[in-house]
């Protein structure tokens, strides 16, 4: 098909690999945004999820609101933030903040809900045995609950990461760069090579991230949990 040829041509053109609008810099932009939003989301969602899972308090409240946030369409969230963030900072508020915040909102719920569910699903007998052996609460959380809940925890983070990478492309419609920029430009200029080139790049990035996480999970999760169904 002509499309494949055009895409291949676009991807192999060395000019597209340099400069501010080149593939590497857009890739970096995309990764940086995804990484930062994932990190910030995890910074809040992970401890919160672990804590309510361990203590059992407020679980209904927190989880229900997390699920509510899940329903929000990212496209709308980014668009809505623009008028407000530009008031804060005319430049970054126009290009960066809306997408960044929307991605944090996107990544939070899966991380939180999985952290909560993972810890809550740890067999109560095991927690009691740990307590009976003289472990302090924090030691129980870190030494017993988290390792056992790790598969579910990791799934949450992985799922959030892939979603963020894929959805960050929407930012390109609202002033952000990243790999979505190629799709937007390709669409605007009727340049199928660029458009599909962008698609290929994003898909590749998302799938690579997925694979990396799966490998990491394999390494980190104890072999003793192999037989147990996650979650």
């Amino acid at each position: 098909m002509d499309l494949i040829g055009a895409t291949a041509a676009w991807l192999s053109d060395p000019a597209h690999w340099q400069g501010a609008n080149g593939i590497p810099s857009r890739l970096l932009e995309h990764l940086a945004l995804s990484g930062v939003s994932l990190l910030l989301a995890a910074l809040v969602a992970l401890p919160l999820g672990l804590w309510i899972g361990h203590s059992g308090r407020f679980s209904w409240l927190v989880v229900t609101s997390a699920n509510a946030w899940r329903a929000l369409p990212s496209f709308a969230v980014i668009g809505l933030l623009v008028p407000f963030t530009t008031v804060l900072d005319a430049n970054l508020g126009f290009t960066l903040y809306p997408t960044l915040v929307a991605m944090i909102v996107l990544a939070g719920p899966p991380i939180l809900v999985n952290a909560y569910q993972g810890i809550a699903d740890v067999d109560a007998d095991l927690v009691e045995a740990a307590r009976a052996m003289g472990m302090k609460e924090r030691q129980i959380l870190v030494g017993v609950e988290i390792p056992i809940a790790l598969p579910v925890l990791a799934t949450g983070i992985r799922s959030a990461a892939v979603q963020v990478i894929a959805t960050a492309t929407l930012g390109a419609a609202f002033g952000f760069g990243g790999l979505g920029r190629f799709i937007v430009l390709g669409d605007a200029n009727q340049d199928n090579g660029e458009l599909f080139g962008g698609v290929v790049l994003v898909a590749a990035l998302a799938l690579t991230t997925l694979a990396l996480f799966l490998v990491l999970e394999r390494r980190l999760v104890s072999a003793g949990l192999a037989r147990r169904a996650a979650g």
């Binding site: 499309l3 989880v63 699920n67 509510a68 899940r70 329903a71 929000l72 369409p73 990212s74 496209f75 709308a76 969230v77 668009g79 809505l80 623009v82 008028p83 530009t86 008031v87 809900v113 909560y116 569910q117 892939v162 990478i165 894929a166 959805t167 492309t169 929407l170 390109a172 419609a173 609202f174 979505g180 799709i183 937007v184 390709g186 669409d187 199928n192 458009l195 599909f196 962008g198 698609v199 994003v202 898909a203 998302a206 799938l207 997925l210």
Partner: protein
């Protein structure tokens, strides 16, 4: 946007008609995608359950499809199938399939085998067992899938606004408002699409509660 009032109520009231049309268009696009997607998914799920070996294959395809951003898919498909409602619907349907099939399969898997055993033992035919036992018990997870897919589709319809002015339902206002630096329009598009998504979410939560009076506890997240 400086020096302008935040909301231009006059514009809002002048455009109530078109806004309502857009809401209708939004729901229409979403409904088509969800129902068509559901039908196809049901068939795919049935096949997956019958032929277990195919299932991992289906899961991998689904995950791969989901990683392709909706944005990209809309733009890409325009190049292939041209600009039309059909083009817009393809990715929408595809994404619902990706969400439905695992949920439907899991739903039927969740029926405890001893319940099926008892049903057979009591003399249910295959068909009766499916209709009266398996289906009702599979409902919670299937409805959870419906909830997820509907909310997701409503969100994706907004993205389809990039295809052009006649598309995107309420997403049109978001994009148009953005390009024109017109806050009111963005607010209308954004808040209404969020509203639709939240209402759909709550609606399905309610439906799930109604359809499963026997469920003692709800699982988190669906």
């Amino acid at each position: 946007m400086n020096g302008e009032p935040l909301i231009r109520w006059d514009w809002l009231f002048a455009h109530l008609g078109p806004i309502a049309d857009r809401v209708g268009q939004h729901l229409y696009l979403a409904a088509i995608a969800v129902s068509v997607g559901f039908a196809i998914s049901f068939v795919l799920a049935a096949i997956s359950i019958r032929r277990r070996k195919l299932y991992p294959f289906v899961t991998v395809l689904a995950t791969a499809a989901y990683t392709i951003p909706s944005f990209a898919m809309f733009a890409a498909l325009v190049a292939i199938t041209g600009l039309s409602v059909f083009t817009a619907e393809i990715p929408l349907v595809l994404y619902t399939i990706v969400l439905f099939v695992p949920n439907i399969v899991a739903g039927f898997d969740s029926v405890p085998w001893d319940v099926l055993d008892a049903a057979d033992g009591m003399g249910y035919t295959r068909g009766q067992r499916w209709w009266r036992v398996e289906l009702p018990l599979a409902v919670p997870l299937v409805v959870a899938g419906l909830r997820l897919a509907s909310v997701s589709t409503i969100g994706l319809v907004t993205v389809s606004a990039i295809l052009g002015d006649s598309f995107g339902g309420l997403g049109y206002y978001i994009l148009d408002g953005y390009h024109r630096h017109f806050t009111t329009e963005i607010l209308v598009g954004g808040l209404l699409s969020i509203g639709l998504a939240v209402i759909a979410d709550l609606g399905f939560v309610l439906l799930q509660r109604l359809l499963t009076p026997w469920a003692a506890r709800r699982t988190v997240g669906g």
